[in-house]
């Protein structure tokens, strides 16, 4: 191996495999996710071949990468999974729910293993028992798997059903012959001597090979008087070279001696020459090989002379008619000249590109700056004389359009589909329902709806909580459901859709719904003022009160100290809202409305004295001019304005932000009504300046948190304007 390495290094340079780790981790993560989804969707009763193949490929691909890049623990576990999946896809075993369970658990363990390899401080998972369980499932139950001898080929069927141990009864011996006998009789009886070994148990893995690899043959341990040796009797159709290939994975080549009991040659066979003659292999090492009469083989004569050669297969190449035809190349064909297209091959097309988030964020920031500069230019240009500056103004108009398109395009880079979040729920719900003894089906709609990556990450926890709630508190036990004339299966529907400038995510269940009476009683117990006159919507929103939980007892599922109040707070911090609707006995629905992105929003700019503030357009309901006399002052100096026979709290922005007012002209004459969390307030402003898209700059990261302000932006004239936190203002008016 040493000299091989040297050669490799001389040719390829000393290759540092760590540079491929990241891409492997990402790929393995994707494979695991895909495998999980497919396992969850798998119908064990009627598993589709293509599905089984695809699941197998995921495990196979992870295993290949893990082995290549040196993650032995990952490779080991995936190897076991792969073995089981291989038997499933070959129909040697029927998929069963326990298999799906253990594969899902293994996939969890793999995620942890991979996280550890990426340097995250997590406890190592317990994989030994998983490996055992998979092994047992793969070997313990199926007839075909239990006996090592029968091959999967149906022609040779008659599988031995006895759960035979490693050592097979000789009865089963003739089976492999018909399938792929390289010679007329095929079977060879061999004695394999292994040793000396410091740990003779090493040799057990060789016995296991015969158990693992269908059709390899049978192995039987023979008594051996040397402590550090093992002797086996093997009946196989494989050549010495092939056996050596397999054995040398476990035991050093030098320690293995293969004695052919049938052949008159009693001497130990040197593996290499035996292989060369035995299988029609032109040259090989322990890990590679060439077929001696195959096209393109090193040392095979030039095409013309190949054609002249007798093309009958070598004695052992029986089942290979294809190469015969292949070995007669059209005389004109030689290896194509590489120079022709070499230059044009730079294209390594791939439909996607992996870019780090920080690069995208930088791009978004720059575009944000560009939007501001553009707005500034646009504002300045208004002062210009149109007749004299026609070209300049036309250019600015183009700039305006291009900036907006660019901004949209760049923002879309950060948009990822909701499926990223939705995909985790089937698994969670399956585990949860299992734990609670409930039957729940999850239906998802609108997985393709795109949302900003930052929002997606932050919405995951609240959504998880809502779905847990639905399953835990909403959906009834199967018997209860049947008693109520409902289906045994509860249904939770998760949907996402675009609605104007926001996204609407709804979690709906067909469970028992909210009880108005219970909520009111509970609220009163908690000391919350809850008169009977509350509307349904107001009653439902009681569950957002801190510490409020409607289940009679706290379960270990939902009752984790994180209540609906936290869900609501988290969603509000994203600029979103939550609405609840329910019909007792029929279920409930929670609607979460979120802005599409955290970086840009449609705002309405208003003036208060010399200051400009931005209101999120989504929360603005209406605006109107008033007569100061319409404002009534009630107790504690609170002010109310009567709008269409309804009194609404008034907030004087100039008081809240202590805006200095130099020209004393009484109060502001304009009211802007904003709504948040179902309540409305009227904000007093001096002037409505207009609507525009604003780039949101985070105040907390650049300065500190300011009450009633959710962020800041830079206006066209270069001034900074604060973006008002309407939900904070509405809340303020309540107290």
């Amino acid at each position: 191996m040493g000299e091989m390495m040297n050669e490799g290094q001389a040719l390829g340079g000393n290759i540092d495999l760590t540079q491929f780790y990241q891409i492997f981790f990402e790929e393995a993560g994707e494979n695991l996710e895909q495998m999980e989804q497919m396992l969850l969707a798998l119908d064990v009763e009627a598993a589709d071949d293509e599905e089984l193949n695809a699941i197998f490929r995921c495990a196979h691909s992870i295993k290949g990468g893990a082995a290549t890049f040196g993650f032995a623990d990952v490779a080991e576990l995936t190897h076991q999974m792969e073995s089981l999946l291989d038997k499933l896809r070959r129909h040697e075993l029927q998929p069963t729910p326990p298999m799906v369970d253990v594969l899902l658990e293994s996939s969890d363990a793999l995620k942890i293993l991979l996280a550890r390899h990426q340097g995250r401080p997590v406890d190592p998972p317990e994989t030994a028992s998983l490996v055992e369980r998979i092994y047992a499932l793969a070997h313990g139950q199926a007839p075909a798997a239990a006996a090592p001898a029968p091959t999967p080929a149906p022609a040779t069927a008659a599988p031995v059903a006895a759960p035979a141990p490693v050592v097979a009864a000789p009865v089963a011996s003739p089976t492999p012959v018909a399938v792929r006998a390289p010679r007329a009789d095929g079977q060879r009886q061999l004695e394999i001597h292994i040793g000396p070994m410091t740990n003779p148990a090493q040799a057990d893995s060789i016995a296991e090979l015969f158990r693992d690899i269908t059709g390899l043959g049978q192995i039987e341990a023979l008594p051996c008087d040397q402590e550090d040796h093992r002797v086996y009797q093997v009946i196989t159709t494989s050549t010495d070279g092939d056996l050596m290939d397999l054995f040398t994975f476990h035991v050093n080549k030098e320690l293995i001696r293969i004695v052919d009991l049938d052949a008159a040659a009693p001497a130990a066979t040197a593996p290499a020459p035996a292989a060369t003659q035995g299988t029609g292999i032109a040259g090989e090492g322990s890990d590679f090989g060439f077929f001696d009469d195959a096209p393109g083989t090193p040392g095979s004569p030039a095409p013309a002379s190949v054609a002249a050669e007798p093309v009958e297969p070598s004695p052992v190449a029986a089942p290979a008619p294809a190469p015969v035809a292949v070995a007669k190349p059209a005389p004109a064909v030689t290896r194509p000249e590489p120079k022709a297209a070499a230059g044009a091959q730079a294209s390594m097309e791939s439909s996607t590109l992996r870019v780090s988030v920080s690069k995208v964020d930088q791009l978004i920031n720059l575009v944000g700056e560009l939007v501001i500069t553009q707005a500034m230019l646009a504002q300045k240009s208004r002062e210009l004389d149109v007749t004299h500056n026609q070209a300049l103004l036309a250019g600015l108009a183009d700039l305006d359009r291009n900036t907006r398109d660019l901004q949209e395009a760049v923002m879309s880079i950060r948009m990822i589909p909701m499926s990223v979040v939705f995909n985790r729920f089937p698994r969670m719900l399956r585990d949860l329902a299992g734990k609670l003894g409930k039957k729940v089906e999850l239906i998802t709609h609108g997985e393709a709806t795109e949302l900003d990556k930052g929002l997606i990450e932050k919405i995951t926890d609240p959504l998880t909580h809502l779905i847990r709630n639905s399953c835990d508190h909403g959906i009834e036990m199967p018997a209860d459901r049947l008693a109520k004339g409902k289906t045994e299966h509860g249904t939770i529907t998760l949907s996402a859709s675009h609605q104007g400038g926001s996204i609407l995510i709804e979690v709906r269940d067909d469970g028992k719904g909210l009880s108005r009476e219970k909520l009111l009683t509970k609220a009163r117990e908690k000391g919350i003022d809850a008169p009977d006159s509350l509307t349904d919507a107001e009653v439902w929103s009681l569950i957002f009160a801190p510490g409020f939980s409607t289940a009679e007892e706290v379960t270990d599922v939902s009752g984790r100290g994180v209540g609906m109040d936290v869900v609501k707070k988290n969603i509000a911090s994203l600029g979103g809202t939550v609405e609840i609707d329910s019909a007792e006995g029929y279920g409930m629905s929670v609607k979460v409305r979120l802005p599409l992105t955290l970086a840009i929003m449609d705002g309405m700019s208003v003036r208060v004295s010399d200051e400009v503030y931005i209101l999120p357009l989504s929360s603005v309901i209406e605006s109107f001019q008033i007569n100061p006399a319409d404002i009534n002052t009630v107790a504690q100096g609170a002010q109310l304005v009567k709008v269409r026979e309804e009194y609404m709290p008034v907030i004087e922005l100039e008081k809240i932000f202590s805006v200095p007012r130099f020209e004393f002209n009484n109060t502001s004459p304009i009211m802007v009504v904003v709504e948040s969390e179902g309540s409305r307030v009227a904000l007093m402003v001096d002037e409505l300046l207009g609507q525009q898209q604003v780039v949101i700059k985070n105040l907390e990261t650049n300065y500190r948190k300011v009450p009633n302000v959710s962020g800041a932006t830079i206006l066209g004239d270069g001034k900074v304007a604060l973006i008002l936190d309407t939900s904070g203002l509405v809340r303020r008016s309540r107290h």
Binding site: F20, A67, P295, G296, P338
Partner: protein, 120 residues
């Protein structure tokens, strides 16, 4: 410069193989599965095909068979990367018309060494 068509559905393996081969002075054309490889083989000059076995759409053996049917690839060396070095796999490789096989996992240096043995 000799051109190698590297076929693997795993991006990390593809990248590793491609990086290794490029470093050894080969030109590499990547393909994500057998079907993609077959299509690329039509439009690129290829001196050697290095293909994974287990892939969606068209596997390594399938690709080998399809390529061998094509006059342009009657004698092009085709190496199959496989995780199993079983006799069955070898027989199947031979029947499909492959030139040889290399067992995964392999060391990058080893890959070049094997390829050098084929392309001389």
């Amino acid at each position: 410069m000799l051109s190698i068509l590297a076929v693997d559905d795993s991006a990390s393996m593809r990248k590793m193989v491609s990086f290794t081969l490029t470093g050894a002075g080969f030109h590499v054309v990547e393909a994500v599965d057998g079907q993609d490889a077959f299509e690329k083989a039509q439009t690129h000059a290829i001196d050697l095909v290095l293909t994974d076995q287990n892939m969606p759409r068209l596997d390594g053996l399938g690709l080998t068979r399809k390529l061998r049917e094509h006059p342009k690839f009657k004698t092009t060396p085709i190496l199959i990367l496989t995780t199993e070095s079983s006799d069955q796999m070898k027989q199947a490789g031979r029947a499909a018309g492959a030139t040889g096989w290399l067992v995964k996992p392999f060391d990058p240096g080893r890959l070049i060494e094997v390829i050098q043995k084929v392309i001389r």
